[in-house]
């Protein structure tokens, strides 16, 4: 049950580019990435697109489809109306390399700025004991496939290049939250550095990141808001501040 669809694909590089119209076949059950691949194999052999697993597990084929940050492998063609024009463009918050491929190196630089996990020195191989319920909080954030759609949609950096220097973005707020909630991590003050060094305060919880997350991680509710609340507590409550200095881990 093949049908013809009209695709508008952004083609170009960092110097210039424009949308190009193509007509291409789409078959039952296909996703946008299938159709892009068909264009590549039959009409534009050098069309640049990133992809890997084609199953929503690796987060490579991030792009904007009709202006929305999406995974091309998880956007079914049947979600568009008959005759609807489909526009595919590269992620807007990052510099374009070519066609649908953006330079996402910003994210790898930010990853480097988050202090790593610190294992308790006295806990040897196989000695760790953790409750399932305690690991689940961090596990939610470890589901992240690093598609960077949350980074792309976040208005703090989407159209504000100047904020990139001081803002780690939602992907790395959940990384900090994951380590902060990790039952074994020994590094202190993760919430405070999130606020002071990684720009947590710049987020005004519009929840756009949560909306685009293909893994349905509750970025805002479960990571950003709890961290914001406790940063305030720790900062302004003298008893808590003192407690955080005495106990092994901050509250």
């Amino acid at each position: 049950m093949a049908r013809k669809v009209n695709l508008r694909i952004w083609r170009g590089d960092s110097n210039s580019g424009a949308l190009q119209n193509v007509e291409v076949e789409a078959n039952e059950g296909e996703v946008v990435l299938d159709v892009i691949h068909r264009v590549q194999a039959t009409q534009m052999g050098d069309l640049a697109v990133r992809w890997n697993c084609k199953a929503g597990k690796c987060g490579s084929c991030s792009m904007e489809i009709n202006g929305k940050p999406r995974l091309a492998c998880m956007t079914r063609m049947s979600s568009f109306e008959e005759g609807e024009e489909i526009t595919v463009t590269p992620l807007r918050a990052f510099p374009v390399i070519k066609d649908l491929v953006a330079d996402v190196s910003f994210n790898y630089k930010k990853a480097m700025e988050i202090p790593a996990y610190e294992h308790p020195a006295d806990l040897g191989p196989g000695e760790a004991r953790m409750e399932q319920i305690d690991v689940e909080r961090s596990q939610e954030f470890r589901k992240c496939i690093e598609c960077f759609l949350c980074q792309d949609t976040c208005h703090v950096i989407r159209d504000h290049e100047e904020n990139k220097k001081s803002f780690a973005g939602p992907r790395f707020f959940i990384r900090i939250a994951e380590l902060d909630m990790h039952p074994l991590d020994m590094l202190k003050n993760r919430k405070r550095t999130a606020q002071e060094e990684h720009g947590l305060g710049m987020c005004n919880i519009t929840k756009c990141c949560t909306e685009v997350c293909p893994e349905h991680i509750r970025i805002t509710d479960n990571a950003i808001i709890p961290m914001k609340e406790r940063v305030v507590d720790v900062k302004y409550d003298p008893a808590r501040w003192l407690g955080s200095k005495i106990r092994r881990r901050e509250g």
């Binding site: 296909e30 194999a41 929503g56 597990k57 987060g59 070519k98 196989g126 399932q132």
Partner: protein, 627 residues
């Protein structure tokens, strides 16, 4: 042409999946400077697709487990064609590798006592797979990715440069391993982004490039699985061992067509999923082979009881090793008892409450709901075999992962051969890449410390550069996309799950023809992020791999594990003693027989003699292993 970029490292790791990253960590911690090459972005490797878990006999769920039981299961699963030493090292070292990940921050699911939980899987006698829901591979990759970032942060503090001693080169393709005076001197490649060329001078090169799935039409592998490392090793003078053995995972998605081949984790069966045909028959009971009869239930009642009481019941036949289940599904579909889309039904909805399914198999629920519109808590899934894993690979020294015949070359993970014999057990891949990734890192470090460096000659650089430029110099030649599709048709139809001599002969001729035409591939556009250009090199690799597979398959006149011959059904004791060694003579792949290493007495004695009688000749049994 832009100027050639040149780098010098002690160790070059090609591949940033589980094996590559584990090797890189080990080599760096041994004090060496390490470069990691990935074909895609850092953290996207195919390892993230591994769902079920990592097999390690920690005995957290059943204390009866230990390395000996794991070793026996692995040898059985591989139908005794495994390199015993690899299976032994793997079984002994897996638990330590899992604990190590935990110390690097990994968060595995827990038992009630707070230990790492372990789940059942096909062919494993006890619950053995450490897991994180059904996204264990992602946890492994992320943990090691973050471990590498940690090492870089340390270097940033000590040397003022995060990339002083370990650097990730993302979106870079290696086209050649360069040897000088018979030893490895480095490797050559290009940046996928801009197309400019790069020379790495390194005394040791570790190949960790994963699998070959993209040579087949229906596969669970991503575009990266094009056998690059297999081909690079062959061309560098290394051997491939037993390339006829490919694992067709029994349960890939079959509908809609665009998702055909995408993996449905074995955990679905481990958690209680049953396979039925269109008549509603739970057909696996019909397909229990003699060698497994004492371990698998032959009736539904006992199979169902096993989920509650594993000590007093035999396991359900849905949990037979993958080759058995894949063949069974294939037979059912051939006999006309398959679905209209050519699959069978896999159902968890009738046995497990919806909320438990969503908790234990979250990404499966997600995958079916979003890609196929199927709610697996209410309906059955449609599944069929998909090309998943290659057991064959680079022939290595088990202890060091050194490629035999090429000083300075190492291989680990799926690209290495021997460990899994004729069939890999689920869960043994994640543990394999940790155990042998580490050993390759150690092996390379020891080699670098004892060998003297050789410089890369300008002649080698020029030859490598000419080869990269070639597709642009040919106008109006063959289209790489079309040739790739042709190759996939040939392998799917003639070298697939069931094979015969005449079809294999046909395949070998057709592959040779495609290979000849591939020498004339031309590429449109320029070098900048040009998939057509990239495919030209991938295609070259896939063709060599397919040739090696077809030639090994026609030579093995028996059926065993991931190699089924319609014209030679059943295992043959004689063939159990034979490895097929592929080498490259400069124009084609040549396959020869080599005797399988003999099981030493202490490992031989771990088995019941009656079990060994099912696999070995009477002379082998009489000998009782080697001393």
């Amino acid at each position: 042409m832009t100027e050639l970029e040149r780098y010098k490292y002690d160790v070059l790791v090609i591949g940033a999946g589980g094996a590559g990253l584990r090797a890189a960590v080990e080599a760096r911690e041994a004090g060496l400077r390490v470069a990691i090459i990935c074909k895609s972005l850092f953290g996207k490797a195919h390892t993230v697709m591994a769902e079920g878990g990592a097999a390690a006999s920690m005995g957290n769920v059943n204390s009866g487990d230990n390395w000996q039981v794991h070793f026996r299961d692995t040898m059985r699963g591989g139908k005794f064609l495994n390199h015993y030493r690899m299976a032994e090292l793997h079984a002994k070292e897996s638990p330590d590798r899992i604990y190590e990940l935990e110390m690097w921050g990994a968060l595995f699911d827990r038992t009630k006592e707070g230990k790492i939980s372990q789940r059942n899987f096909g062919g494993h006698e006890y619950p053995r797979l450490a897991h994180v829901g059904d996204r264990t591979g992602l946890e492994l990759i992320r943990t090691m990715q973050q471990k590498i970032v940690q090492l870089q942060q340390k270097d940033a503090r000590e040397y003022g440069n995060a990339e002083a001693n370990i650097r990730v080169f993302a979106e870079l393709t290696i086209t050649e391993i360069i040897k000088e005076k018979g030893v490895v001197a480095g490797a050559y490649g290009y940046w996928r982004e801009g197309g400019n060329e790069v020379l790495f001078e390194a005394q040791a090169v570790i190949i960790a490039t994963g699998g070959v799935g993209k040579t087949f039409k229906i596969t669970s592998n991503s575009w990266e699985g094009t056998g690059d490392g297999h081909a690079l090793a062959l061309k560098a003078g290394a051997n491939l061992v037993d390339m006829e053995f490919l694992q067709f995972h029994p349960t890939g998605m079959v509908w809609p067509p665009s998702v055909r081949g995408i993996l449905v984790t074995e955990s679905v069966r481990g958690e209680g999923g049953v396979l039925t045909n269109t008549l509603g028959e739970r057909f696996m009971f019909k397909y229990i082979p003699d060698v497994f009869k004492d371990k698998y239930a032959d009736n539904e009642e006992e199979a169902d009881r096993w989920y509650l009481d594993q000590d007093n019941n035999r396991r359900p036949p849905e949990l037979l090793p993958r080759d058995e289940v894949a063949r069974a599904i294939n037979s059912e579909v051939k006999a006309g008892r398959g679905t209209e889309h050519g699959g069978v039904f896999l159902d968890v909805s009738k046995r497990i409450p919806a909320e438990v399914i969503k908790k234990r198999l979250p990404s499966m629920w997600h995958q079916f709901y979003e890609l196929a519109g199927v709610d697996i808590t209410k309906e059955a899934m449609e599944v069929g075999p998909t090309c998943h894993y290659v057991m064959g690979g680079v022939e290595v020294e088990p202890d060091t992962a050194a490629a035999i015949g090429v000083p300075g070359l190492f291989a680990a993970g799926e690209v290495a051969g021997g460990m899994h014999g004729s069939n890999r057990l689920g869960g043994n891949s994640l543990s394999d890449l940790l155990v042998f990734g580490r050993r390759a890192g150690m092996g390379a470090a020891a080699y670098v410390k004892s060998a003297t460096a050789v410089a890369v000659s300008e002649a080698s650089v020029k030859a490598a550069a000419d080869r990269i430029q070639a597709p642009f110099t040919r106008a109006g030649g063959e289209n790489a996309y079309s040739l790739h599709q042709e190759l996939q048709e040939v392998t799917h139809n003639l070298v697939g799950i069931i094979r015969t001599g005449s079809e294999l002969k046909d395949a070998i001729e057709k592959i040779a023809d495609i290979r000849k035409r591939s020498q004339n591939v031309s590429v449109a556009g320029d070098r900048k992020f040009n998939p057509g250009f990239h495919l030209a090199f991938d295609l070259d690799n896939m063709l060599l791999v397919a040739e090696s597979t077809a030639k090994s398959a026609i030579a093995r006149e028996e059926s065993r594990g991931g190699h089924t011959r319609d014209d030679f059904p059943g295992m043959n004791d004689k063939w159990r003693q034979v490895n097929h060694i592929s080498s490259y003579n400069g124009s084609e792949v040549v396959v020869r027989e080599q005797k399988l290493p003999t099981l030493p007495k202490e490992l031989f004695d771990l088995f019941d003699i009656h079990e060994l009688e099912k696999y070995m000749t009477s002379e082998e049994i009489a000998k009782g292993g080697s001393n």
